[in-house]
């Protein structure tokens, strides 16, 4: 594994029953990447994320992280995760912003030995996400964009090297999306965080990501985001011909 590679996916395949959704995937993700993962529904994006996160086991192949095979909780390769459907699923959760961010720490803590300065760590993550002053607000009272930031703050509390976001903008308005992407870019540039996000929206991916991986069971494209404006490539990713109508944001 090269020094600048943080995740290396090798010969990875996965099937749901007899339906193959990932077929011989090989990807090297560099440290500090700002990577968009795109593809049609059922193309294997979320499945690939779940395998990287250790939630699913591949049929064959493997995922290697910097420092060895699958050291998910090592200091060198901590992964922060922001799930899908935050706007819908956590509307009525009886949890404040502080509760949510704190829950990013509790899994690794021993019961009788809490992390030192844990309140400071939580408040720093809240501040970094621009949510200072909202610590005691219920998660359901926040706007869609603020809610996403609270879940990013939850991930940041455990000082990750990699941040993975699964369809972060389902149900979030456009102005919140723009502000949130600025925040993600800042984390990528200033904190050196490797960021991987999944989206089915070509406009978002091509405008925001530096690199793209297009997935439709197999890797269809890896490279610079600008190429996503090429009609032939989009047709290739989705497996059929499209008329691309671009909306100015």
């Amino acid at each position: 594994m090269k020094n600048d590679v943080i995740i290396s996916i090798k010969n990875l395949s996965f099937s749901y029953n007899s339906n193959k959704v990932l077929d011989d995937i090989n990807i090297d993700i560099e440290r500090g990447a700002y990577l968009g993962l795109i593809g049609p529904n059922g193309g294997g994006k979320s499945t690939l994320l779940k395998i990287i996160l250790g939630l699913l086991k591949p049929d064959s192949g493997r995922v290697e992280f910097a420092g060895g095979v699958n050291p998910r909780c090592s200091d060198d390769c901590r992964i922060g995760y922001v799930p899908q459907r935050i706007s819908q699923d956590y509307q009525d959760l009886p949890a404040t912003v502080f509760d949510i961010v704190e829950s990013g720490l509790v899994a690794k803590e021993e019961i009788f030995k809490l992390q030192k300065n844990r309140n400071e760590v939580i408040n720093d993550a809240i501040k970094l996400a621009g949510l200072k002053g909202l610590e005691n607000k219920l998660i359901g009272e926040l706007s869609g964009g603020q809610r996403q930031k609270a879940f990013v703050a939850r991930a940041l509390a455990s000082h990750p090297q990699i941040l993975i976001l699964d369809e972060p903008f389902v149900g979030v308005d456009l102005s919140s999306q723009d502000e949130f992407y600025k925040f993600l870019r800042k984390l990528n540039i200033e904190k050196g965080l490797t960021i991987i996000f999944v989206s089915h929206d070509i406009d978002i991916i091509s405008a925001q990501a530096k690199q793209i991986i297009a997935l439709n069971r197999k890797i269809v494209y890896t490279g610079k985001a600008e190429k996503m404006n090429e009609k032939e490539l989009v047709d290739n990713i989705y497996g059929q011909k499209f008329t691309h109508i671009h909306h100015d944001r």
Binding site: L53, I79, P83, L93, A95, F98, S103, A107, K108
Partner: protein, 271 residues
């Protein structure tokens, strides 16, 4: 009402009723909170009905029904949770299968045991005033164990309940914690079944939580208000039922419902 309570406390059976009521009202909403977060509220009713198998079996074979209820509800809880996690069968389908299977088994045991009918009614609708001296000791010991365990693990249980994936990603042994959680739920149900009855169990575990959630607080305050609502309803319910000569479990449930309506009203007008 305080003077009334002191008057009632002259009776030993009422002292035991209050003690059991306090313990159950402390632990029932605690476990109910995590079930509500898991969107698994109906599991309370399912487990309460299944625990009747243990009650009927122990009445038939003449050992303590609390142990029978505990054994069956813990085992069924763990089995249901494992089936739920397989994700190839809907949670409500799992509950329907277990509930109907449990009631069928209870009916068979009930028909095999001549004369267990009166005792069974105590467990169907609750009979807090018939709790014995030996049972109260079990209530105190198990109640304290559940209370301390949940207090120490509440933040981990909260994470597993609202985002099990993150718990797995961060290296938590979720199978172990889920099994422990189901053990605690099973113990709580087996204690509460004599106090409130299998048919009204859901009210004591879920309604105080639903009421507290109307107030719009975070995890710790929601837990605290759930316990306050449950505790006041149980103490007032036992007191009123003594003076009005009504079934205590029914009065407790009515008071819990009034609390829910009041908190929903506050939420609507000030939320």
């Amino acid at each position: 009402m305080i003077a009334d309570i002191f008057e009632i406390l002259q009776y030993d059976f009422m002292v035991r009723a209050f003690l059991a009521g306090v313990i159950v009202s402390l632990i029932a909403p605690l476990m109910g909170f995590f079930l509500v977060i898991r969107k698994f509220s109906l599991m309370v009713d399912t487990l309460a009905h299944i625990s009747l198998v243990g009650v009927a079996g122990s009445l038939l074979f003449q050992f303590n029904p609390l142990f029978g209820a505990m054994l069956v509800s813990v085992g069924a809880g763990i089995a249901m949770d494992r089936l739920r996690s397989l994700k190839n069968i809907f949670s409500d389908t799992v509950m329907a299968i277990f509930m109907s299977g449990g009631l069928a088994l209870t009916l068979i045991l009930f028909s095999l045991g001549n004369g267990i009918g009166v005792n069974m009614l105590n467990y169907l609708f609750g009979s807090i005033t018939t709790i014995t001296q030996s049972e109260i000791l079990l209530f105190v010991i198990l109640g304290i164990i559940v209370l301390i365990t949940v207090f120490l693990l509440r933040k981990k249980l909260f994470l597993i309940s609202y985002d099990e994936d993150l718990a797995v990603i961060n290296g938590m042994n979720t199978k172990l914690y889920n099994a422990l959680f189901m053990l605690l739920v099973g113990v709580t149900i087996s204690l509460a079944i004599k106090a409130i009855g299998a048919l009204l169990m859901g009210a004591l575990m879920i309604i105080p939580v639903a009421s507290a959630m109307q107030l719009g607080y975070g995890m710790n305050k929601t837990l605290l208000y759930s316990i306050i609502f449950s505790l006041t309803s149980v103490i007032a319910g036992i007191t009123f039922s003594f003076y009005l000569d009504l079934p205590s479990s029914a009065v407790i449930v009515i008071l819990l419902l009034i609390t829910f309506l009041a908190s929903a009203f506050i939420h609507r007008n000030h939320g």
